[in-house]
Symmetry: C2
Subunit: 385 residues, 2 copies
Amino acid sequence: MNQFNFYNPTKIIFGRDRFNELDHLVPKDAKVLVLYGGGSVKKFGTLDRVLAALPNREILEFGGIEANPRYETLMKAVDVVRAEKIDFLLAVGGGSVIDGTKFIALASYYDGDGLDLLRDRSITANLKQALPLAAVLTLAATGSEMNRGGVVSSPIGKLGFGNDLVFPKFSLVDPSLTFTLPETQVANGVVDTFVHVMEQYMTYPAEGRFQDRTSEGILKTLIEIGRATIDNPTDYDLRANLVWCATMGLNGLIGAGVPQDWATHRIGHELTALFGIDHAKTLAIIMPSLWNIMRDTKREKLLQYGERVLNITTGSEEDRIDQIIETTRQFFESLGIKTRLSDYGIGADQIDSILAALELHNMTALGERGEITLEISRKILEGAI
Amino acid sequence: MNQFNFYNPTKIIFGRDRFNELDHLVPKDAKVLVLYGGGSVKKFGTLDRVLAALPNREILEFGGIEANPRYETLMKAVDVVRAEKIDFLLAVGGGSVIDGTKFIALASYYDGDGLDLLRDRSITANLKQALPLAAVLTLAATGSEMNRGGVVSSPIGKLGFGNDLVFPKFSLVDPSLTFTLPETQVANGVVDTFVHVMEQYMTYPAEGRFQDRTSEGILKTLIEIGRATIDNPTDYDLRANLVWCATMGLNGLIGAGVPQDWATHRIGHELTALFGIDHAKTLAIIMPSLWNIMRDTKREKLLQYGERVLNITTGSEEDRIDQIIETTRQFFESLGIKTRLSDYGIGADQIDSILAALELHNMTALGERGEITLEISRKILEGAI
């Protein structure tokens, strides 16, 4: 097991109808900015329930944070924070709103060019002050409700950032708030969670037995409940299991002390930036091909996953790995998520532009061992057509 | 899944030889009381390494905290804290030292009779101030390094307490510090962790799929490595896996959102208080008999554990439950832990005194459904002879 630090101070308030607890969770004397995305939190009444739960406070609203939140939008919120002397941010939404709110929390205290915070991870990681923030979660996928990072789409790319200061102070996680999501967003959440776990698991053995088995438990659960929670959107227990797995899949727990990959995410981010493909769908496109190309360095963990999660135990190692990749692809497809670039109208002629974007963002040595050069990324993309 | 709150702000610093990080983890301006138990932290140099890592600070020491820490000893430390105006507590040891330090942290700010904090859990839970504390862990078992509770032996019994204020600010968890432990203490740690998990798992199904599978992962790991880490005490990876499972087994994670039992602990505490039997050994005595007596209410989870952890899948349900109990008992015995009261010289003639102690401490409706009355406890004890 590798050495590690583990720290996660976010308080999770999990369960149905717990809005009334917001009043004591949000500081009484705070001037609060409530942030949200499009109209769904209005349409389904979530925003009204949040506002009603926070009486006798000065509250401003900032709506319109997009999926894959845009830097320009977030900087407008920073202007509001500064002009109005906001001292608490409350995100109401999914990963994009929460990620965006984290960026606002940091950028509000940063005097330089806000793009620095995306351009140079070390600048962001060393910031010493941020606005406190919290979240009311309406979509299970990113784990942003219980972690220290986010991803922002900006003129210099779709890029990540992180700092302990942006752990939400609390997150209200009510699975029933996700009942009204469109089917494709639930499917995206299942795939996003599945690949988050894989980025921390599908590397090489490192004697992290708790970490491996906890990851395998989430993967098994997602396979068990993924299709079922899409088909039965108001089944509380199915959805609660998806939501809790999504939170646990990216809160630092399963990745502590073991190698991590994240190449699928890095390549996927370019697909979203260039072609607007949903984040989760980019992961479903890239990961199966990446496993195929990297099957030698990932061999032991691929076989372990096959045996422990998929019960694939017969055939030669190559045959089993083929089965493992195909079974995983079929799982994504069974959720209604297409797994080929060509399904999204992307052909071989676009690969150079994707590689150029990777190069621009210094994504030239990806994967758990830095072995995924641009040439390897080309093969992965060619295999994903 | 039940509704729940999850909160755990302890920072874990995990790995070998990280003492040099203590200097920035412990506040620079703090007057520190370093607390420890018997001579082993002196004998093996751990105390010296801690003190050397904290230069230019005012540091006092308080040694002699016993296994099953005694209230009278802890109140002497409270006197030191008050007289010397200590403002940071650093526990160096295992669960007893850390539990004791937590009690000191709370009692130092409590003006009433210190026994109140054990007599009435609600008094302790509502305290608003405590000294900050941290830990350097030398024994894996109790999870105290990453939770909010402790157990103290007092004139009114061996009793638990808890408050969010006593989460350690950080815990330095170096598996190599446990290499020098006597074999029986390592075995105790394996059993203690195993039963901590079971108290949060072996109840009834509650749609906590992440929780169940994470518990099952710890149980499998303990069965895999338990004997091996006793036999190979300086194998870092084996011990690191034990240590991390012990921390994860009682930090709130696996018990969030699912029913919990704790009857084995409650009855076990009386055996320690009356007869001085090691805590873990009391658990190994009580749990198999408790499962046998409570096999109807625990049936589904017993069978799930049998199938998923022990691979016991054939025979009638009663046969399988018999096999499951016997296999678990044999696992404890394989670690050198005896599982019968009679192994410790306790006979049927002592049962009345154990029941009287349970009654005195209001332990008359134990278990996940409060079904374990004194009459049921009698049967459990009779079955444990």
